[in-house]
């Protein structure tokens, strides 16, 4: 069955979104009951994923639509909610799952976990536990690319809440001043942990702020992966052509709580239900079917994603723990204990 090109692209985008969803769902399950976070008492039987887990469930279209316009040598900085970005940039779900399980074979050898998931080999420079901290790092990486005359760009993801932190201003100003190759992407899920972002944000939101710095921006439906893809394609091309930074404002929704152990009870249940009707996976699937792609073909992708993630879980489960001595590696002079 030969599909016309556009459907092939949407299928590809759908495939990555589905992989992310399956990964997040599996990680969430593996984290149940064991996280001593969010005011809960420490559990006697630790879950397989012990640490705080910020799920991007419902926001897959932003990561996927943007990263579809990046090449391997392009760079990316992420947030605390970084699984989607990492997978979309091309990381291996099994090595990611190993990291979440705290295994020696994880990307960070068990040193980072979910909040610091990274795959430098595909240019994914790391999730970050500090809101907005990726912004200056992204501008610096872009500055290096420009100084080194490399043809690549940096995608810098952050949330709506991050736009109220100082580094947002400092980083955007910097990128525009030096005309750096960075695509800023605001994943606007309209909430910051338990606080609606709107009332905490002055003015007409993030795009207005970018505009005040003369950074051209586009606003898109962040649940429509094709819309994100198209906008990212336009903006990334401008950035790549040396036009300086661009800004993408993608409006989306967080289906889950702030972390996996957060039931999110501060939100109206109906609001969540309504939002789920715009699930980016449902939207993409509907489009595919509407355009004549057989349901079986889409189902096959779902099945493959499920298998892939099941395999990742099995790999992670069987993977070795780090040695205690590894705690003294990746840092100067501590391996011998001499400088303890």
């Amino acid at each position: 069955m030969v599909l016309p090109v556009p459907q092939q692209r949407l299928l590809d985008l759908y495939r990555v979104m589905r992989r992310i969803r399956a990964f997040e769902d599996a990680a969430e399950t593996a984290s149940q009951g064991g996280v001593a976070a969010w005011g809960l008492a420490e559990n006697a039987t630790p879950a397989k994923v012990r640490g705080p887990l910020h799920l991007s469930t419902g926001q897959e279209a932003v990561a996927v639509g943007v990263c579809a316009n990046l090449v391997r040598k392009d760079l990316l900085t992420s947030t605390h909610r970084g699984h989607g970005h990492t997978l979309a940039k091309g990381a291996d779900p099994a090595r990611m799952m190993c990291e979440l399980f705290g295994r020696a074979t994880g990307y960070n050898h068990g040193k980072g976990g979910s909040m610091h998931i990274a795959d430098f080999s595909v240019g994914m420079l790391g999730a970050n536990g500090v809101v907005a901290a990726g912004i200056p790092i992204a501008t610096g990486a872009a500055h290096a690319l420009k100084l080194r005359k490399q043809p690549n760009i940096v995608a810098c993801f952050f949330g709506d809440g991050a736009a109220n932190r100082g580094p947002f201003l400092e980083g955007l100003n910097w990128a525009q001043v030096y005309q750096l190759p960075v695509l800023f992407v605001c994943e606007d899920n309209r909430i910051s942990a338990t606080t609606p972002t709107g009332p905490m944000t002055a003015g007409k939101g993030v795009s207005a702020r970018a505009k005040a710095l003369a950074i051209a921006s586009e606003k898109v439906d962040g649940n429509d992966v094709e819309a994100v893809d198209a906008a990212a394609a336009r903006l990334a091309a401008q950035v790549r052509a040396g036009g300086g930074p661009r800004f993408l404002h993608a409006v989306t929704y967080r289906f889950k709580g702030h972390v996996s152990v957060d039931p999110g009870s501060y939100r109206d249940a109906r609001e969540v239900e309504t939002a789920k009707q715009s699930d980016p996976l449902l939207l993409a699937r509907a489009k595919l079917l509407e355009r004549g792609v057989p349901a079986a073909a889409v189902d096959a992708i779902d099945g493959e994603a499920g298998q892939e993630i099941a395999a990742a879980l099995a790999t992670a489960d069987a993977a070795p723990w780090p040695q205690a001595s590894a705690a003294y590696e990746d840092i100067m002079n501590t391996v011998t204990g001499a400088w303890r």
Partner: protein, 328 residues
């Protein structure tokens, strides 16, 4: 503007470390309308429940803020100068690093630099410590930094009773207080004497003993008591001292114990190198001239996997081993 003060009769009650903080703050807020609390997500009672119930009782004085640590802390300085007593919630100390100019150059120096024209009576709460699998950016303990900084008071409660009593004293201090609750103690239950206060600068001697002195604070307290119990079974009598505040710190109590035991072990969760244990050990060595030893974390970031995290964690067994070592 002050609400009529409600006198609380003294009685004891079991509660958690988090509940103790809530109660202390509630009492103080009822008594003094100048007290406000500000920080991210406070409107839902704080991410550790340490403000639970307060948003309902004081809807205008528990203030939800944008994610703007620098401005949260800087605004608190301005609020204090303009007559309020702000409680500033930094969520975890790691994020307070986004507000260091405001803490160090503004809050701490204001009174001195302006020759006493103003005071900055704020309480900056910045939970410290390792917290199951939260890795390098959510597990730090930086009490030594603030002890080093002129103008700051530093409190490090290790029990519900002290979290209750010290928070109240902190709100009376008149100067900026770095108030460090430990993230793994929120659920710890203990007896609290409602109506009491714990003065700044006074240590608590938890066990008496003549063989060695163990000086500790925060997360170290219950572990040191455990270690002392185990040593006791082997006939070794350890005197466990909880400093409770690191600035001012109770040198008299520590020195008196050191004179008695001639062996002082300082225990803390923070990195050992240039930790506050160095200050205590150096002071004891200078002023008493007895044997000293320290137990702190190795100079590595806290890792995510359990086995890595454990390298940075305190434990009763590690304390006991260090105690036996100094007794050799």
């Amino acid at each position: 503007m002050n609400a009529p003060e409600r006198k609380t009769a003294m009685h004891t009650q079991q509660m958690t470390y988090a509940e103790a903080a809530c109660l202390a703050l509630r009492e103080k807020m009822r008594a003094d309308a100048r007290i406000v609390a500000l920080g991210e997500d406070l409107g839902r009672g704080g991410v550790f429940g340490q403000y639970r119930g307060l948003p309902q009782e004081f809807p205008d004085r528990i203030i939800d803020t944008p994610i703007s640590e620098a401005n949260i802390m800087g605004a608190a300085v301005g609020m204090a100068l303009a007559g309020l007593k702000p409680v500033v919630e930094m969520r975890v100390i790691d994020f307070a690093l986004c507000a260091m100019d405001e803490i160090v150059n503004q809050a701490a120096k204001n009174r001195y630099m302006f020759g006493g024209q103003g005071r900055v009576p704020l309480v900056a709460r910045m939970p410290i410590g390792i917290w199951s699998a939260s890795a390098a950016q959510h597990s730090q303990s930086l009490e030594a930094w603030f002890a080093h900084m002129p103008g700051l008071v530093v409190a490090v409660p290790g029990t519900p009773a002290d979290n209750y009593g010290l928070l109240k004293s902190a709100l009376d201090s008149g100067d900026p207080v770095i108030y460090m609750e430990h993230k793994e103690l929120w659920g710890l239950t203990g007896e609290v004497t409602v109506g009491s206060e714990v003065p700044l600068g006074r240590a608590n001697v938890l066990t008496q003993g003549g063989d060695l002195t163990i000086v500790t604070w925060s997360r170290g307290v219950s572990l040191a008591v455990q270690a002392a119990a185990s040593l006791g079974k082997a006939g070794i009598a350890a005197e466990v001292i909880d400093l409770r505040t690191l600035w001012p710190w109770d040198r008299e109590t520590v020195f008196a114990s050191a004179v008695k035991t001639r062996k002082v072990l300082v225990v803390h969760e923070a990195v050992q190198v240039a930790g506050f244990g160095a200050e205590v050990a150096a002071s004891v060595a200078e002023h008493v001239g007895c044997k000293v030893a320290r137990l702190g974390a190795p100079r590595i970031p806290v890792g995510y996997a359990q086995v890595l995290e454990d390298e940075s964690r305190l434990s009763a067994a590690k304390i006991e081993a260090a105690a036996r070592n100094i007794l050799k």
